[in-house]
């Protein structure tokens, strides 16, 4: 049969179910792709032998009733995987092999899939270009000089390059949606609490959320269904009935009210992004949706708020990497304090250090009220903006990012311009809402651009439906030539 790896997850599942392809054949096809795509540097660890074993087991005793029957999946290296090295893109975890499996990955395996490898990411998910990884930057398959976005850059790159049929990432301030936008793929950050955080290396606990990254909206629904669910091991997990997102996917969006926030038209935004937004509005309107102008007045404070809250939590979350119990320990240091200093100096990269410093500063006595406490108050106002708007609308449409993928090295020396990449994505994390980035077009260089759909809390089904209808009428095709193999 034709190359199965450029099909959607849903098509692949159908082919497995109808026995057009075995799990072993499928796995071998991906192994071959991965081996010829080393230039992209999307993988930190591969688990081919283990994957082929699992595939064989599946083929010997197939269960086609599962959501992900015999499907190999690579996942971001932020998810702890039992007996498989988990680095979080950091030197400080370069030798860390968990004895446990994160809830989200366990959910995926319980639905019939298995691990193909661990995907590169920004160190501790701190970055927007995958350039902060200790394991080297990842290349965007769209172009050999382009970043794949971040922090789930290995995930977006591997997905767009057909190295995994679907994948998962984590999104603290845009780390799923921005790389999806940069690679012409679909990425969803679910409602905070929908997917368990247990076993995911923490960056900023009140913002972190795992989510699917896929080629199509339908694939996204399948993956979300498989990975989400209540987990009593995570105190912030939401206890609710599980939904069948893929079965309930509908493309009729007639009468839905779509909010268009005026604050998302920022200065110096490329004309193409604006045009793309207009195109998106038109498609939704043609499908029978009603466009409503809304205002989210505190949007401009979202980025500074995020860059206080996230580093504050990170500075504390990363205190456990001290060289005492696991991970990297410096061989130098004559006492405990020196051991800490050397271990953390050698173990962490610059961006992580920068954020630990910011976080420590904003929590310090004398600065706490002015920064951390103020940021928490602003966060409530940002959330209230959304709550107020959602009284009269069903979803919000915005661009996903202010630009398409930039060049490797272009922003590494300018953290603020790097942070500005998250301007459309961070408000959603601060408010705990679900948001979807879907491919919508290309800029004048031919690089993909995405549009973002933001929903009410736990309203994933609705934004998936809107995305599904949009996808059918947008006619975006990701045209990636396999220049790397």
């Amino acid at each position: 049969m034709a190359d199965i790896t450029n099909q959607s997850l849903n098509e692949i599942i159908e082919n497995v179910k109808t026995k057009k392809v075995s799990s072993t054949e499928l796995t071998k096809a991906y192994v071959k792709n991965i081996e010829s795509a080393k230039k992209l540097n999307a993988f930190v660890t591969t688990t081919f032998d283990q994957a082929l074993d699992k595939a064989k087991q599946f083929d010997n005793k197939p269960n086609f009733d599962q959501l992900l029957p015999g499907i190999p999946l690579a996942v971001k290296d932020l998810f702890c995987t039992e007996n498989t090295k988990t680095t979080a893109g950091s030197n400080i975890l370069n030798n860390f092999i968990p004895s446990y499996e994160s809830t989200v990955t366990k959910n995926l395996w319980d639905h019939g899939s298995f691990l193909l490898g661990k995907l590169n990411c920004d160190e501790f998910a701190m970055g927007s270009s995958n350039e902060t990884s200790h394991y080297g930057n990842v290349i965007n398959p769209v172009g050999d000089q382009l970043v794949p976005g971040g922090s789930s850059g290995g995930s977006s790159s591997a997905l767009a390059a057909d190295l995994t049929p679907a994948t998962i990432g984590t999104d603290t301030g845009g780390s799923i949606r921005q790389p999806a936008s940069f690679t012409g793929t679909v990425g969803l950050k679910p409602t905070y609490g929908l997917c368990s955080r247990w076993g995911i290396v923490a960056f900023a606990s009140s913002l972190d959320q795992a989510g699917p990254m896929t080629k199509t909206i339908q694939d996204c629904a399948i993956m979300l269904e498989a990975m989400s669910g209540f987990d009593k091991k995570d105190s912030t997990s939401i206890n609710k009935k599980e939904e069948q997102y893929s079965k309930n996917l509908k493309d009729n969006i007639k009468g839905l009210k779509i909010g268009i926030p005026k604050e998302y038209r920022v200065d110096n935004m490329p004309k193409e992004v604006d045009e793309l937004w207009e195109k998106g509005k038109k498609i939704l309107k043609d499908l029978g949706a009603q466009l409503i102008d809304i205002s989210l007045p505190h949007t401009k404070y979202a980025l500074p708020t995020y860059y206080i809250v996230a580093p504050a939590e990170a500075s504390s979350n990363l205190a456990r990497y001290d060289g005492v119990r696991y991970g990297y320990r410096s061989k130098q240091g004559k006492d405990l304090i020196e051991m800490y200093e050397k271990t953390r100096s050698e173990g962490f990269g610059d961006e992580v250090k920068r954020r630990i410093l910011i976080g420590t500063y904003v929590l310090s006595s004398g600065y706490y009220d002015a920064y951390y406490l103020k940021a928490q108050k602003v966060r409530q106002l940002i959330k209230k903006d959304f709550d107020d708007s959602f009284k009269k609308i069903d979803a919000i449409l915005t661009p996903s990012t202010p630009s398409s993928a930039f060049k490797i090295g272009e922003k590494t020396n300018d953290p603020v311009s790097m942070y500005l990449n998250d301007i459309f994505t961070v408000p959603v994390n601060l408010a705990g809402l679900p948001a979807l980035s879907m491919p919508a077009g290309v800029d004048n260089k031919g690089h993909p651009l995405g549009l973002q759909l933001i929903g009410k809390a736990l309203d994933e089904q609705k934004i998936l439906n809107i995305g599904y209808a949009f996808e059918k009428n947008c006619c975006f095709r990701n045209k990636i030539k396999k220049w790397w193999s």
Partner: protein, 489 residues
Amino acid sequence: MSKEKFDYFIKGEKGKYEVVIGLEVHAQVLSKSKLFSGSSTKFGADPNNQVSLIDSAFPGMLPVINEECVKQAVRTGLGLNAKINNYSVFDRKNYFYADLPQGYQISQYKNPIVGEGKVLLDMPYGSKEIGIERLHLEQDAGKSIHDMDPSNTYVDLNRSGIALMEIVSKPDLRSPDEVNAYIKKLRSIMRYLGTCDGNMQEGSLRADVNVSVRKEGDTNFGTRCEIKNVNSIKFMQMAIEYEAARQVELIENGKKIDQETRLFDTKKNETRSMRSKEDAHDYRYFPDPDLLPLKLEQKLIDDLKKSLPELPDKKKERFVKEYGLNAYEANVLVSEKEISDYYEEVAKLSDKKLAATWMMGDLFAMLNDRGLDISKSPISAKHFAELVQAIKSGEISGRIAKEVFEIMVESGDNPKKIIESKGMKQQSDPKELEKMINEILSKNKDKVDQYKAGKEKLFGFFVGQVMKLSGGKANPQLTNEILKKLLKG
């Protein structure tokens, strides 16, 4: 009981100084598992055998609150007559140490689970109320072991994550004696409630002691020093005495007291500076984003309140009313729940007042000598009650009772059996006694004459003779009566 006057002051050259003390008591919550993980809390396991991935802070691990620990904190709060807060928040207290795996301790900072309360102390100069500022829940740290190896420190995480209640008093204590009474009262309340075993040797109860001094009559507080982590009442008292004297000396010499954290050296009996206010840690407290605020329903609090056992203050009142004990006796007998239980069992079966006297006398002395808790008493409450009844009914004398008591301790036998088998029963038959006394009187005619002539001191001699002849078994009261009657005749 005489009402003494409070008189604990430090005398300096320039006057008398009052000592002001506040305590932060860390009480280990009695619970099967830790505050945020399922690991066991049992004392004495091999190092690092009761450690989960959460306690050792592996990547991606998350805390989940142990409901039983929350209930224990609420029970304790209710026992301290304190306000229970329906809304409380867990915060992270950030600092680095090898036995603190997360790099932060989960504690409660701005919004504790329990607010203001009070504890009543019985002092020789009357009862005194000590204010409770707050009670909050927090994780214990692990243990660093520095003396196992000359160049390495070992870490044992068995204790890491165990639930502690930090009980903060107001600066209402004024002497080492009051500190002693306060700790004992807290311990007693928590043991009644079953919320902390109060075992100081195993570190279940430790305290940070805040000490300041001021001239008698001053209303402003002096600068305080905090003495960290003292683990016995005796050491707390020694530390306070040393520290108060040190501060008075500084003041008298015109020097300033620095607000600082000090350490008590138990070997040298002195406090030493650990860190000054300037070097104080900046703990960067902030709400733990892994945990939602703790919201308690009023019904849960009400239900817990209804299920509380009778506490020492109430029980003391009842003992006075129901058993006719005086305040001192009642106070001693309610100090430990096990003692009060033992007493009530004895009092049910015997004379209530006599039971109290004998428990507080011979029984306590014996337990004390042997270093035993009352729960390990070689004499059961039932046997002890039988002994008290044997005394009360005149079956045996007090002197014989002491002998019976000794045999009971050694053999564990019931007193009836001992009295019978050893023929220790008191001679209480008036006819028999009269016969015996007549015999003695007729043998000692000369002394009878002397007695009758006015030498009344000889009465004791006759009693002695009766006792000798009866082998100590003659009922002393009856003996006295009959002797008097016959000597008159």
